[in-house]
Amino acid sequence: MATKTNKAIKISQKHLLGIQDLSINDVNQILDEAKTFIKLNQSKNKRLNVLNGKTQINLFFEPSTRTQSSFELAGKRLGADVMSMNMANSAIKKGETLIDTAMTLNAMHPDIIVIRHQDSGACNLLSQKVNCAVLNAGDGSREHPTQALLDALTIINRKKKIEGLRVAICGDITHSRVARSNIYLLNMLGAEVNIIAPSNLMPKEIEKFGVNTFSDMKKGLKDCDIVMMLRLQNERMTSSFLSSNREYYEYYGLTPDKLSHAKEDALIMHPGPMNRGIEIDTKLADDINRSVIKEQVELGVAVRMACLKIFCE
């Protein structure tokens, strides 16, 4: 019965490359579909056959734990044949270009390719060269659409809405694809977005995205309903973006004191992996009343199932 209603509206895009390309109808369709999978994932029999006979290839050029396993599980639960390729050991190492890899895989007639790549726009390039749908699992510092969708689902699950909420996104915004996708999506769904980062980690002209920017974390957290922390990409420390981890924690680490500036019932989110004691106090991260970090991971599978199902059709 559920499939019948979903066929009425069609997704506007062939590929899921970024939140930027989606309409609000697309987003609602994905979120509605994902809601139906939450219960399934909690039940004893987690298997559906909607993607029976479909082939899903996961192309991960960058190391990933949660996104890769989440996509793999999502595909398997829907009955697809899932092949995960760790591209570190692939022909890319032998000098093959992304386009040639795409052509090779395309010849095997997959129905969906999930790609994670260190270069911004890699998924766009891939999508131009293959016949199947391409799902972006993170490209460079451009977009990570399924992360934003699962964050939205997590917020809706807890707060019952997004419109009118004030959301703070805090940390290394410059290098963060998660931040960008979340800004687009939260804006689209009617939230007010505060961006908090030291100037060295704040991208140029980000305020043109329609967000408020803060370098003072306490001011940025004021009256927020959601506090979204980002991973401090430690590998960046070498180029003197920051003086030290301890100074960063002092000014931008989420501590109970800083959190007190947000609303009393504010939720803490983090896309993972976390640097405990650098961007977030370890007790806060585990506080079951405040932190929904584990729930994000759980709902991630449901969101990815929804995306696979919708874009496979």
Binding site: Q20, T97, L98, I99, H117, Q118, D119, S120, G121, A122, N124, L125, D139, G140, S141, R142, E143, R177, R180, P203, K204, E205, I206, K208, F209, S239
Partner: protein, 428 residues
Amino acid sequence: MKKQYFINGNIVDPHNSISENGGLIIGENGSIEAVGKKVNTNNIPSREKPMDLKGKYIFPGIVDMRVFAGEPGYEYKENFRTLSNAALAGGVTSVVTMPNTDPIIDNVSIVDFLKRRGRDKSKINVYPSAALTKNIEGISMTEFGLLQSRGIIGFTDGVKTIQNTRLMSRIMNSAKDLGTLIMQHAEDFDLSKNGMINSGIIATKLGLSGIPAVAERLIIERDLTLLENIKCRYHISQISAAKSVEIIEERKNNVKFTTGVSINNLSLNEIDIGDFKTFLKLSPPLRTEEDRVALVEGLKNETIDVIVSDHKPEDEEQKRLTFAQASTGASGIETLLSLSLELYHNGSVKLETIIKALTSNPAKILKIDKGNLSVGNEADFCIVDIDKPWVVKKDKLVSKSKNTSIEDKKLQGKVTNTFVKGEELFKL
């Protein structure tokens, strides 16, 4: 060679302040015998058959100050033969080649090879430049004097910038002593590190690292400050930002130097990059529309002296990659004039100013007797149907590499004939 007569053309020769309807007579030795309104049917012997240009334009052969030839090392991208064919199709008869080859043009023996190849394989005038520093490493300077005596026209590290201020001042001192022309690509590499496009909203949106305009400005300001005390022939290869135009305008009152701009930066802006078009990954990068307009204004008021093609042939393999991996640069020598004419057709810049920036100005900077239609000079010129509409198609390009930045662009004005030393080497 038979004597040739052209009548009823629109002649634009900024060097001789000619802009009038008239004709051209080419002598048997390939040099210009007469030019201008005095050349008409009344003073041409009746037995001769003059070519009636029917209002088409005659421009001096274009002098392109910034061209990357593939030789030596990258012959698969472009060689002297394909480069000259592409140049001729665009009305370009003289080029300054960049030293960024493999090996780098940084010593006398390579120059001899280059001059020979250029002479044997090329139909146009090739003026090689050499590197400012050995292996363009920015550490120790090359032998300006010796290289110059072998025919090097100017010195530049091409795509690279001298970062070390002390070295730059020493280079300028040597250049002052030897009368050497220095051409600097202005970019502070610490600020532009990993940068791919203009720093700003588009870079943030695409998730690409930016090259801030201030990286260009700092080098310009540094060099012009040094130039106050060390007077040498100094040319800024290309500028891309509004702020640079402003500074140059201001500094021109104190120090003597010249400035170039790429036709890409005059015609396109960062929004054209769209969905990661690697053919528009350029150096300097395309910037905002405000910057572009400021550059056009700078050309118009002659703050900017020269337009270059920044012709950088790259084979498809180097462009069919992610934006981060793709090589930088666009092929552009054969569209340089047509694309420049867009600024005339849309009323932004006077035709004479554009032609000056393409012919006599670069020739003056290079100290070569080219880019003019002076009587007695070698007849390098092109005939242009200035209103002829056409569409750029990469498959139709003559250059060996098809990485044009303006695929499918509708242009107005096309070269129909190009002559070098009085010989017609291109005919549409």
